[in-house]
């Protein structure tokens, strides 16, 4: 018990809690819920996303693309043949440029961004609610 107290105290003093990871996971959850229409979306990630790994209670983490509502894409290698037709969502801006992801949540220019491409959402028959409209753009 003392050991855990020490870790918590040190963690708080030295590093702060993992509040950023908790918030990042909440943002992914808000997006995943909107895209899938489910309160507990099934997520597949071939390259681990640390925030979802740490704070996974809102998600059902699955082991294959076939079972997933949403596939999280960090690198090109994450998109296997099985995954190609699934609903892909990126964790980097480059996935939007090079892969058929419907959108991405990423850091760029020193700030976090959320971006969806209208045509790709349409292809998957997804209509986002009003509060997501400001994050939708036309593909360049």
């Amino acid at each position: 018990m003392k050991f855990f107290s020490l870790l918590i105290l040190l963690g708080t003093i030295l590093f702060g809690a993992n509040e950023d990871l908790r918030l990042e996971s909440s943002i992914y959850y808000t997006i995943a819920k909107e895209l899938s229409g489910k309160t507990r979306p099934k997520i597949y990630m071939r390259s681990n996303v640390a925030s979802i790994q740490h704070f996974s209670s809102n998600f059902e983490i699955v082991n294959s693309c076939d079972d997933a509502d949403i596939v999280l894409v960090t690198y090109k290698k994450n998109i296997t043949a099985q995954c190609k037709d699934k609903l892909l969502f990126g964790t980097r801006y480059k996935t939007l440029l090079k892969e058929p992801t419907v959108g991405a949540f990423f850091w760029q220019k020193g700030r976090p961004n959320i971006l969806f491409y209208k045509s790709r959402l349409k292809k998957h028959g997804i209509t986002l609610s009003k509060d997501f409209q400001k994050y939708i753009d036309n593909e360049k």
């Binding site: 918590i8 702060g16 990423f106 850091w107 509060d131």
Partner: protein, 625 residues
């Protein structure tokens, strides 16, 4: 009516949801500040400038932060080089202030600190700054320090993209820089930065001579990282006018110094829990000081008309640190090694090389340290640090084996924190004080610092208050005698420090910062006794796309200085999210602190009062893409 109510309800729910995603993003950005990951409250009395602070304060160079520090402040020596504790007309005084770029100490092995090179570095590639005062943790420093300034660079992941920036200012000053960053498909993150700056200042005149202190800088930094392994390259070239020059015998007709610096760092973390840290860095710095005198230097001091002093120094640093977590303890064990090579001979007067030679040319420093943090309860942390060092020198120079001791106690409650640190440290004189053949003294003993600091702070969402008290006794304090040769003082120097700080966060992004601090020096052999006061009033305001910065720094009681009122202001407007323009004025009314510099001591001493921070107005633009 029902339709109207439905519409109202839908709008309300929608706006709340939208706000929640926006709010989440804002909170996430705030909580992701890198400073929250790197700062170590247990490592000393800490002041953090987050990325947001640096942007809103329009921090262009490091002096913009250092000029308003508690207890010490930004000064330059008679050569126009940054020297924060500048107290002596000839000797360099800031050896006990160490500066780091990420985890690499930026140092000049001869001066014992990198402040002389990097004390006023352009900050465009820096994410955040941590300043640890009061004998910080041994984990930072191979050599012990009074103050550690840690500069952290922007990150490849968060700053993916490019930024260009251009600045023009008073006297034709200008600065242009670019950085680019990204993470590749192979998960290799890179950050590349290049900067050119001409910092042109007002000229001063005395006895028909004009003194300039313009500084021209080219700086390049690159980092490449994959998982826990990181390679960093850092290169700097400085060409500066040397203002009143190295010698006070007569004012120079002209003088300049060219300096170059390069370092490469490789660091990694091993084992499944990353508990073994390894670090290696190599640095080389060289420079050449040249001065001409007309009329010549008085015969009493050599009668020469030209003076040249080149230097060359290298250092290799190796560090290994292992962390252990036991039931109640968090223990760090470290082994540090630094090999220094330096050449500061080859002084030429009228082209004739000096025949004297430096007392030693290399130094090996071995440091063994352990730091243990012990959780007494969930709110109480005790820490104990011990370092044993060995300084091995070549030629006939004596070796040293100083010990460093540090005790800490932190009480941490929901809003209240108290920190107590007690220290006994021995600072070994640096090569310019011992090896140099003219002002150096190979018989110098290490200075012994004994003291402590006590800090209380209280924080809520709207308020932050902090009180810091400190006392240090310095035995064998180093100072120059009447022949400019450095000696150990026979009397101890006592320092008493006290600071009060208050921050009020009114509205969401507005901040008022008030601070008053005092430092009293007492008891050394020479007339160093003084009591100086610093007061800081700072206001940061945000009105939609406009950020406004106001700051008044009052300095009073410094020896050889008049009371200064340095008022700075800035306004930054975001034309778009990616395009910003800014205006900034420093020492706007030209009433800031002035420093008296001796420009001659023959036949009588005469001095010149010069603003420490020049009056300067700047206009800048930055674009992200």
């Amino acid at each position: 009516m029902r339709f109207y109510l439905f519409f109202l309800l839908t709008s309300l729910v929608t706006s709340l949801a939208a706000e929640s995603l926006d709010t989440l993003l804002n909170e996430y950005k705030s909580e992701s500040e890198l400073s929250k990951k790197t700062k170590d409250e247990n490592a000393g009395n800490l002041i953090v400038y987050t990325r947001n602070d640096l942007e809103r304060m329009q921090v262009e160079s490091l002096k913009d932060l250092l000029k308003s520090q508690r207890f010490f402040r930004y000064f330059e020596n008679r050569e126009g080089e940054p020297d924060l504790l500048n107290a002596d007309p000839l000797s360099y005084s800031s050896k006990s202030i160490k500066i780091y770029l990420n985890n690499t100490e930026l140092t000049n092995p001869i001066a014992g600190t990198g402040i002389i090179l990097f004390g006023n570095i352009a900050m465009d590639f820096i994410d955040h700054v941590e300043i640890y005062q009061g004998f910080p943790s041994f984990e930072f420093a191979i050599e012990p320090a009074l103050v550690v300034i840690k500069l952290y660079t922007k990150s490849p992941k968060k700053d993916a993209g490019c930024r260009i920036k251009a600045l023009v200012g008073t006297n034709g000053s200008n600065k242009e820089n670019i950085y680019t960053a990204d993470v590749t498909e192979n998960n290799v993150g890179y950050f590349l930065y290049a900067n050119h700056e001409d910092d042109n200042r007002y000229k001063r005149s005395a006895e028909d001579k004009t003194f300039k202190r313009d500084v021209h800088t080219n700086h390049f930094y690159a980092s490449f990282e994959k998982e826990a392994t990181k390679l960093e390259l850092n290169a700097l070239k400085i060409k500066r006018d040397e203002f009143l020059g190295a010698l006070p015998y007569t004012p120079p007709l002209s003088d300049e110094k060219e300096q170059s610096y390069f370092n490469a760092t490789l660091s990694t973390k091993l084992l499944s829990d990353n508990s073994l840290s390894l670090h290696a860095d190599y640095l080389r710095t060289s420079g050449d000081y040249k001065a001409t005198y007309s009329p010549a230097v008085p015969a009493l001091y050599g009668g020469f008309s030209t003076f040249e002093q080149p230097y060359d120094a290298q250092a290799l640093t190796l560090l290994a640190k292992k962390e252990y977590h036991f039931v109640k303890h968090s223990l760090s064990l470290g082994l540090q090694f630094r090999h220094k090579l330096f050449d500061l001979d080859n002084i030429k007067r009228d082209g004739i090389e000096d025949t004297t030679s430096q007392a030693y040319t290399s130094e090996d420093i071995y440091s063994l340290f352990m730091e243990d943090s012990y959780a007494v309860t969930d709110n109480d942390l005790l820490s104990f640090s011990l370092m044993q060092q060995f300084y091995k020198r070549n030629k006939k120079m004596k070796d040293e084996s100083p010990q460093q001791l540090r005790l800490g106690y932190i009480k941490s409650l929901q809003h209240f924190t108290a920190k107590t640190f007690l220290n006994r440290q021995q600072l070994v004189p640096e090569p310019y004080m011992t090896a140099e053949a003219h002002i150096g003294n190979p018989d110098l003993d290490p200075e012994t610092y004994t003291g402590g600091t006590q800090e209380f702070s209280y924080k809520t969402t709207k308020h932050f208050a902090r009180m810091t008290l400190g006392y240090t006794q310095i035995k064998d304090f180093l100072l120059s005698d009447t022949n400019a040769v450095i000696q150990n003082s026979h009397k101890a120097l006592n320092t008493y420090a006290g600071a009060l700080e208050y921050k009020y966060y009114f509205r969401e992004s507005d901040e008022l910062h008030l601070e008053a601090n005092i430092l009293k020096l007492e008891g050394s052999d020479i007339a160093m006794d003084s009591t100086h006061f610093n007061y800081v009033f700072r206001m940061l305001n945000n009105f939609s796309k406009l950020n406004i910065f106001n700051e008044l720094v009052i300095n009073k009681g410094y020896r050889n200085n008049q009371t200064g009122y340095d008022y700075s202001l800035g306004a930054k407007y975001a034309l778009t999210q990616d395009l910003k323009i800014a205006f900034k004025g420093e020492n706007v009314f030209n009433k800031g602190l002035k420093r008296d510099y001796l420009y001659t001591i023959f036949p009588t001493a005469k001095s010149l009062a010069v603003p420490v921070i020049e009056q300067k107005f700047m206009l800048s633009m930055e674009y992200l893409f």
